[in-house]
Amino acid sequence: MTDIRIPAVRTRAAATPPAAAVRRPARERGARLLAALFLAPTVVGIVVFTVGPIIGSVVLSLFHWNVIDSPGFAGTANYREVFTDSTVLVSFRNTLVFMVFAVAAQLLIALSLALTLNGRMPTWLRSVFRSAFFFPLVLSAASISVVMKYLFNQDFGVVNWLLGLVGAAPVPWLTSEHGAMATVIIVYVWQQFGFSFLLFVGGLNNIPKEIHEAAALDGATGLRKHLAITLPLLSPTLLVASVVGIINALQVFEQPYVLTAGGPGDSTRTVVMVIYEKAFEQLRFGEASAVGVLLFVLITAVTALQFRLSRRFVHYQ
């Protein structure tokens, strides 16, 4: 039976000599130079298109700017403003609620379907399902949301019409506070689970068959095999899927913007929607940047926490 190794906690290599004392051979230096040369375009891209805007946002968050007039230094006024703005605070709460339910549903559905498709099934049928589940991901979120808005319309939508055929009362999908959030999550998960699904399919394919065969010889049943073998070996994939899922969910915009415009009230207003509204509708770019910086901090903190926790739960082969 193959040994499943849990990675040891990394320790600092005490005996490593100082770098300056080591004389690297010319070949190694050349290889490093070449590597740097190849990496340069990516690094430049990241600096210009990621690091630059982040720094720009932090700087802008310290200014009052309405596009029209010259920016004026505001110090921490924008941060004080957003911390006392009930809409901003509600949007953070909504985004976190959305993230928890959307990511959980997305991972659960994707994993269940990946496990199901990993069983005995004709190859062509498996391909059909894989394509079908991945298909929504390649569509534009905005256009999907426009269609869904029609489908979920309380008065004229197809969904309520179908429910009416079985005698159910019309559901206020987009017009009640809980219904609106649930509908936004449904639409989002429907579109997004294909990505996690694909990751899980790849992860499952990477689990050696011998491990399951050995477990079967030892008398392990289906559920036991999933819990003791499949899930631990799939945990790196689960980590990637959850990290990407959470980062995406915390930045959700198109679906609530098109489906509900943040309503009823503020019930589906998300952080990125608030950033958009403050910047491009209310012309308060400083405050919008401050909210952006707070979202950046939140995403970084949640991701760091995930990696920290992953040391306990993620098992590498």
Binding site: A26, I68, D69, Y150, D155, F156, T260, P264, E277, E281
Partner: protein
């Protein structure tokens, strides 16, 4: 002697790589390729006119440009049709262009943005209007003073209105027939309106909604506030404007006119506002109208033309829209908003605003004048996609093909109700709109929700109005 950090062979190899890369870069640089400068009209000294993408058809735009070039062969024009969902989205894109240093010379601006542009970006047209008064006399004689006044800010004129739409009531005549009802009288009341909705509901199945409305600044809850003799923000008029009224309008028409509207103190907790909201909440509870979030302009034509909606507020633009959707000219009709305390209506107008950043202001003024000409507007608005600002364009011939039978309502909303007023759109309009939409949704959740939601709306409006955009 120290060791070389790079061997001779490695040096030669990297030299070859470098030469290869330089050769590639040189080849790429010499390729004939498209750049931003290749966009027709860019940086060629054209007068740039930004319009809301969907406002004019491609044919209309071509007509506009060709006609202007015939008149002014020395002025090049480029129409920049900015694609946007609605006016706030359009303004956001224009402001982004301005921030990026690619500001247009002229921007097509609706009532929603008149004061925002006037306050921060616009150039008053006063001196040109005074200079070309003789030429413009015919224009002003043909345009209702309410439309002109809505384009004034603090005593100055910033746009010449070319189109407008008042919130009138469209009725599906097939639904009226099914319900055994006639087209309401011009002076119908809010109670008549409610009775009609009940009658419609009774005569139709469960998939039918008598009244469909959209939660927005124009045609949403605001017309109900107008007819209840109130508004979201206290309304007054700026002083001034006499230079225009005295020059172009007879005494009867200039009475009470000022230098443009002012919307100041929020009054969302006013008893009349609450009453209007209570009324709508009651309609929703009785299943007589859609919830605000449920309605949106995108599916409105579909549900109205197929008879799943009986009544909806819309302007002259809907005549063209319903015709394009395949609705016969006699399948719908239009009347005024029902009376409550008043029968005052709400309208929104649009025209071209000249930006301060423009270096071609005289040429831009020529375009503004050209765009307001009768022949220009006749060609541009040939499909009834809006109500022309010029009264003389509203003729039986114009509406013969599209309907409705009572097309006179469109301009009579101004002529018969001279107090018909513009959308309450101060410079802080974006935030005011957002606050209105948000709290209207909450307020209409149930009749009990109205008062607390309006209190929150008042607080948010006060905060919004304190800000200087």
């Amino acid at each position: 002697m120290t060791d070389s950090p790079l061997s001779r062979r490695a040096l030669l190899r990297y030299g070859a790589y470098g030469a290869g890369a330089a050769a590639l870069a040189g080849t790429a640089a010499s390729w004939d390729r498209l750049t931003g400068a290749d966009i027709p009209g860019r940086d060629d000294g054209s007068l740039v006119v930004a319009t809301l993408g969907s406002a004019f058809s491609p044919d209309g735009v071509r007509t506009l440009v060709r006609g202007f070039r015939r008149l002014h062969p020395d002025i090049k024009v480029r129409i920049n049709a900015v694609q946007a969902v609605d006016w706030p989205d359009f303004f956001a894109k224009i402001l982004t262009q301005i921030a990026a240093g690619t500001a247009p010379d002229l921007v097509y601006v609706a009532t929603e943005g008149v004061q925002l542009f006037a306050r921060h970006l616009g150039v008053p047209l006063d001196r040109w209007v005074k200079r070309d008064a003789a030429e413009l006399r015919e224009y002003f004689a043909d345009v209702h003073p309410s439309l002109v006044e809505s384009m004034m800010y603090e005593g100055s004129l910033y746009q010449l209105p070319v189109e407008f739409n008042a919130a009138d009531m469209y009725l599906n005549t097939r639904v009226l027939e099914r319900s055994g009802a006639d087209l309401p009288a011009d002076d119908w009341t809010r109670d008549d309106f409610t009775a009609l909705l009940r009658r419609m509901k009774k005569a139709n199945d469960s998939h039918f909604t008598p009244y469909f409305w959209t939660n927005r600044l124009w045609g949403g809850v605001v017309p109900w506030l107008f007819t209840n003799g109130t508004n979201l923000l206290a309304e007054s008029k700026a002083p001034g404007g006499g230079w225009l009224w005295d020059a172009f309008y007879p005494a009867a028409q200039r009475e009470g006119r000022g230098g443009g509207f002012r919307w100041t103190t929020p009054q969302a907790t006013d008893a009349r506002v609450e009453e209007a909201y209570d009324y709508l909440a009651g309609l929703i509870q009785d299943g007589l109208c859609t919830r605000p979030e449920g309605g949106n302009g995108q599916n409105l034509i579909g549900v109205f033309s197929t008879g799943r909606v009986g009544v909806t507020p819309a302007g002259g633009f809907w005549a063209g829209g319903l015709h394009l959707a395949g609705m016969r000219d006699d399948a719908f009709d239009v009347t005024y908003f029902p009376r409550r305390r008043t029968q005052r209506h709400q309208f929104g107008a649009a025209g071209y605003a000249l930006l301060r950043t423009s270096k071609k202001q005289d040429a831009a003024w020529e375009f503004i004048k050209y765009s307001a000409r009768l022949d220009t507007l006749t060609e541009l608005f040939s499909t009834n996609q809006t109500t022309p600002a010029r009264r003389s364009m509203l003729t039986a011939a114009r509406y013969r093909e599209t309907g409705p039978a009572h097309w006179r309502v469109f301009y009579d909303t101004l002529d018969k109700f001279p107090d018909t007023g513009p959308i309450p759109a101060p410079p802080q309009v974006a935030e005011v709109t957002q606050v209105l939409l948000k709290h209207t949704g909450t307020a209409l959740a149930s009749p009990r929700s109205v008062r607390p939601a309006l209190r929150r709306m008042q607080g948010d409006l006060e905060k919004a109005m304190e800000r200087d955009v």
